[in-house]
Symmetry: D4
Subunit: 223 residues, 8 copies
Amino acid sequence: MKIQNGQRLVFIGDSVTDMGRTRNGDAPSEGLFEPLGKGYPHIVSGLLNAVYPERRVRITNVANGGNNVRDLKARWQRDVIDLAPDWLSILIGFNDVWRQFDSPQFPEQAVPPEEYENTLRELVVSTQPRLSGGLVLMAPYFIEPNSSDAMRKRMDEYGAACAKIAAETGVLFVDLQAVFDKVLKHCYSCYISWDRVHPNVYGSTIIARAFLRAVEFDYNHEL
Amino acid sequence: MKIQNGQRLVFIGDSVTDMGRTRNGDAPSEGLFEPLGKGYPHIVSGLLNAVYPERRVRITNVANGGNNVRDLKARWQRDVIDLAPDWLSILIGFNDVWRQFDSPQFPEQAVPPEEYENTLRELVVSTQPRLSGGLVLMAPYFIEPNSSDAMRKRMDEYGAACAKIAAETGVLFVDLQAVFDKVLKHCYSCYISWDRVHPNVYGSTIIARAFLRAVEFDYNHEL
Amino acid sequence: MKIQNGQRLVFIGDSVTDMGRTRNGDAPSEGLFEPLGKGYPHIVSGLLNAVYPERRVRITNVANGGNNVRDLKARWQRDVIDLAPDWLSILIGFNDVWRQFDSPQFPEQAVPPEEYENTLRELVVSTQPRLSGGLVLMAPYFIEPNSSDAMRKRMDEYGAACAKIAAETGVLFVDLQAVFDKVLKHCYSCYISWDRVHPNVYGSTIIARAFLRAVEFDYNHEL
Amino acid sequence: MKIQNGQRLVFIGDSVTDMGRTRNGDAPSEGLFEPLGKGYPHIVSGLLNAVYPERRVRITNVANGGNNVRDLKARWQRDVIDLAPDWLSILIGFNDVWRQFDSPQFPEQAVPPEEYENTLRELVVSTQPRLSGGLVLMAPYFIEPNSSDAMRKRMDEYGAACAKIAAETGVLFVDLQAVFDKVLKHCYSCYISWDRVHPNVYGSTIIARAFLRAVEFDYNHEL
Amino acid sequence: MKIQNGQRLVFIGDSVTDMGRTRNGDAPSEGLFEPLGKGYPHIVSGLLNAVYPERRVRITNVANGGNNVRDLKARWQRDVIDLAPDWLSILIGFNDVWRQFDSPQFPEQAVPPEEYENTLRELVVSTQPRLSGGLVLMAPYFIEPNSSDAMRKRMDEYGAACAKIAAETGVLFVDLQAVFDKVLKHCYSCYISWDRVHPNVYGSTIIARAFLRAVEFDYNHEL
Amino acid sequence: MKIQNGQRLVFIGDSVTDMGRTRNGDAPSEGLFEPLGKGYPHIVSGLLNAVYPERRVRITNVANGGNNVRDLKARWQRDVIDLAPDWLSILIGFNDVWRQFDSPQFPEQAVPPEEYENTLRELVVSTQPRLSGGLVLMAPYFIEPNSSDAMRKRMDEYGAACAKIAAETGVLFVDLQAVFDKVLKHCYSCYISWDRVHPNVYGSTIIARAFLRAVEFDYNHEL
Amino acid sequence: MKIQNGQRLVFIGDSVTDMGRTRNGDAPSEGLFEPLGKGYPHIVSGLLNAVYPERRVRITNVANGGNNVRDLKARWQRDVIDLAPDWLSILIGFNDVWRQFDSPQFPEQAVPPEEYENTLRELVVSTQPRLSGGLVLMAPYFIEPNSSDAMRKRMDEYGAACAKIAAETGVLFVDLQAVFDKVLKHCYSCYISWDRVHPNVYGSTIIARAFLRAVEFDYNHEL
Amino acid sequence: MKIQNGQRLVFIGDSVTDMGRTRNGDAPSEGLFEPLGKGYPHIVSGLLNAVYPERRVRITNVANGGNNVRDLKARWQRDVIDLAPDWLSILIGFNDVWRQFDSPQFPEQAVPPEEYENTLRELVVSTQPRLSGGLVLMAPYFIEPNSSDAMRKRMDEYGAACAKIAAETGVLFVDLQAVFDKVLKHCYSCYISWDRVHPNVYGSTIIARAFLRAVEFDYNHEL
């Protein structure tokens, strides 16, 4: 397993990552009393500590519901750099795309593909050298199997930008769309998500498992 | 994986299993909107559906906080038999023992070992033939490594009764005390439980993983 | 406008019709203080009374969130017949279909097509003669333009059953799917519904307008 | 329909316009999750988007309960000019008049007719040139048919000031008093308003329809 | 002052009398902790006990918001007769009339004049002999000075019925409409009531004073 | 009646005067929606407006629960002078005395007699010339008939200071202790006050009546 | 110390004993999570268990706020006899007396001295033989040093009845009035009670200590 | 008893001392309405005032849940020195130790032994000369009888540091571990604490009694 003893792992993103994390002003969510929300960071913390309690991985959730990549950039120094993580996981892009479809009257609320790619690349490139562990870049997804659906197509562009940045920089890449596409062969989207974006506990566990594969977590590790 | 397509899995127990399941009168907790609480049944549902979505396992939580084995017997017909489960998981005994230590003035609130064993055996023996899948009997535990601690010793007696019943009847047995004993070599008890009984998400994931091993869940199963 | 002075119009259905109507035990929602919820019955009441205040139409909402056609049948005597409506509007079928996709483990929660059609026909046929005004049967819809989508296809079967019953009985039919299909040429589904079923105020106004066309409401009526 | 694709429409006023709009500090109410309150701006948004979804009109509610024209002036720069609307709708004057009758001990809480007219004219004249669409000036009303009633007479003076300003400037004028006077031939005031000022959903729909006529909205527009 | 030492005075009526009295199931409101609401019964209790503390009058409020005379009749035995009052004060009729104007679609919610008069007479006549003190019949009112207003005219009919019954039976009569008409020469209706029926503390004190005059209360009584 | 048309009457004091007045930051309580609390200022407002509605007296409550005379001085400019009252009513001293008995360990929380008298005199003397109407000084009381009771004796000293200041300055004086002493001949203290300081509605009406006598209010005034 | 290992001690009374005990329907308050309220039973439980943890005394609180001796009699079988206590502590009489002073209009709410004495004697005499430990009868008190005060005099009569019953039957008697009289030489009543009946934590500790003296509790007992 | 008339006693510490004290911003908790929480400071206040009411000891609680010795130092000037106590009681160290076991991933949240000892010594040494009464240093404890338990061993180191500082400076020392060790011979830890740190009322009374012994409180003191 790639995450070493005592390393700090920070999750950043939007509501898919936030999932009701316990807030105390602007402070990051971490430590006692399960403050990580109920999404995949919480599930990752459960599995990491159940299977590798001796590693004592320090997990921090700084995701904010409603954020797009532009919002991440605005708070990157305080919420990422100042925390000095060893590992960073990024999952961003849902709101960048969604607002194009649910709020076309409010174009300033969405982020166009080029800005998305450039901003995300800037964040990855500038942060990667600071990470003693590594960076996991997870692509945004749309839990819709019809690849000609308008929003799915748009989301695929943003996912492709992630893949491109990962390829350029060598950070770990998690193709969540591909993961969900496999699942969608066995069930309809509402089995795992009411709105095709926010996952229920099945969907969050799918994301957690995909993340853990990227860091070579071994479920059968024995103490 | 032993649990087959469309089978029903019922969890019964006390607060360790209940963990805030959504209540609607006396109805069992199951179905939409994640009603299983935040304990190991919820985590099991996440992993089963993330890894085996095609199996469509139906999971029901009927645990009640504060219950001992005597309470289970009183509601067994309504809360277990009438639900016609294929699989049944039982985790009981904490309150049977705990009241002997925190409330010695109230002896009627505890269950002595013989009554515990006999009642539990009766429930297992009478139910086993009705289960098309199987029965998983999980032993109660005390997250305390000192085997000469008074409450740990007492809990070990109750765990031994479970093991004995499992051996007699051939139901699947999960020795949670042994599982936690291994973990306690790597951390202090409060790392996984504030009071040495109620687990945090690390501890609940440990129980979920032990349960899933018993039913031969394969984490690396591919769709 | 077909609804005459002092006639009573009852809306029955599920959460799309209920939309948070004010509840007082099992009593129907009607009268002072805008108890009809915030969905299309409320919008219909606003338009009917703004444009035809002299008609004094009595509007009652008896929809219950989560209902399927089987639930309607069980409470039909108390919630429809006993109210002696002049006009009845039915919009049912979402939950009959949805549970097949979000809860396949719980088959008893869904209603198969044949039962849906037969039950609905029975309700329509037995009630039609009692109505001095008329019956408006609105077809359930799925706000998804891809006609080969699995849930859309399934919903289309249920809509077709409605159309068939309307054709057989001569009740007024509202093809909501066709109405939404037109709108979907101009916007993506999340513009009017987060989950493709529950409409926002845009979607509820679309349904209200479709209903009002069926009863030949004239928006430009002058007092 | 006069409002063109992508134009922004801002509603300003008092509690009749506010009607519980969702507040977030001093930010204007607009966008996702139906933040416009339950009054006529909300109903206008429903009808505009149900009938003209392709126009994608951006609707913003900046009304504040309790405001008079003096309050509007004080926040005009921030809440109107800075938003750069294409269309502006103003409905103000209720509190200017009402305080003269319910709180005569507090003369500073009311606005006398001359100040009302001058302030309102100043706001209209200075804003009109900035609007690429247009300005709709709605006159305050009192839902009381007795034209010799003291408060009705007073309100008529304020309504006349609006009409005069509209005539001078050529902005669109909506004579809500005339609209309600017609309705009052068919029902008593409490049918549409408990206190003759705040409308129920019937009254709010009446205002919405009057507004929409002014902008030549066609209810029967086909997609 | 007509009310003698230790006599019991019961107030019955609707929301004008109820005014938020403290409820405990169906029990009458009386005794410690000021349970009489904030309306005229509360003010009467304050004045009676401030000026005549030696009389120890027992005051009970059994009014229910929303009641009409038909509702009073249905609960008369339990809420009046069974309490064995010495003095009874009745103020009823607002809802009997109001529903004719705000809810004409719901004719069963109003009470027509003949039924009002007959029911009220029956209650007065059958109860009068049981009262060792006396009965105060207060006429309903509408705080509107225009005597040709439709609702005022209607309310006047109901007030006239009260006056007629009082004349026939000799019970004490309080002409609240006349009292308010005098006040309305000095202020507009909203100075004392937002909706012309429910009084603010000024209006409730006006009613209290009118009631106290009927029982010959002497404000200047000295201890 | 001494209070003339349109004059402003300000009440200042502690919890006996505050009695739950509606607060909005530091703003004085006055105007719509009965913000004066439920104590004697509220009752005075009811009687003044019921009997003299043509006078339109403006009533403001600026009392703060827990205040002593030292607290009044600290906020006198903002809460009295800046409001420019015509009439001022002061009732202070309960907390100055009470803390000597319930919190003798906290001497800084009480105000000794000399400081009480000097501070109060300073406030009266400096304010009297600014009042176009007049100043009503009400003495604090203790609803305890035993004049040798320690706290009663102490309170009598504070009341005597008030009387002395009133005699020196000629302001209107209300001897509330004398008023309550008369009442206590007819009932026990808990009939009007649970703790012998905070009055129930009987006691608050007693204070209101004493205040109104001082300003020559005529309860039998006819419109 | 008279209370032996494992004995059950039941406290019955009114609000002075209840003090917010945790309620679960009609069940007695006892066991985990400190359900005894915040009054003297709670303090007794703290001292008994801190000093004599080896005795494991079972403490139950069945007091109900507002009760008088008549209320105790009505529930005696269920709330005392059925619990089979070894020790019983009774403190009743406050409401029996208080209602005579705060609610003289409601004579049925008070209990006259003869009925008080007879009822209490009946309860003591019939219960004493069932108690393997003993019965502690605590006299009601009034924290008022003036023995000619009307309520104090009345309370003294009730206290004398307790003393008389104790003398007749030989049960343990606690003269709380005498205890408080001593304290009142050193502080004013409001130092220990706001209303001279309900004690603060100082007063509750005084009662607890008086109770513990009666059962010969030794504070300096060593383990 | 060492605490003299009118002296001020300040308790500082963490959640064991805080126990829900009433907060008002950063102000210390003291005075009316029992603001000291429900822990040992509250029980001490009850016993001191029940037994020595004539001493009028002023008790203040400034403990903050979650604090370690580093946190105390940061607020020492404001929360201790500025209050000018005569007596000071310190109980700190639980969080300094606990975080080493429940949050080993967050080393900055714990305080190592050397820093603990040095900081505590600095606080004691600098404060002792300012206290006219004295300083009571209570050692942190772990309610676990197994002296080879890892956390017990660690806590013993911190307790030894306290003892050492007390010996050096001559302040009063309370060896709470020794006190609890005696109790644990008679009951299991959960009888007095759910998590072996936070005491229930039994445990808090044990601490209160230990504190009171240090100041030579005489429970049998007579007034």
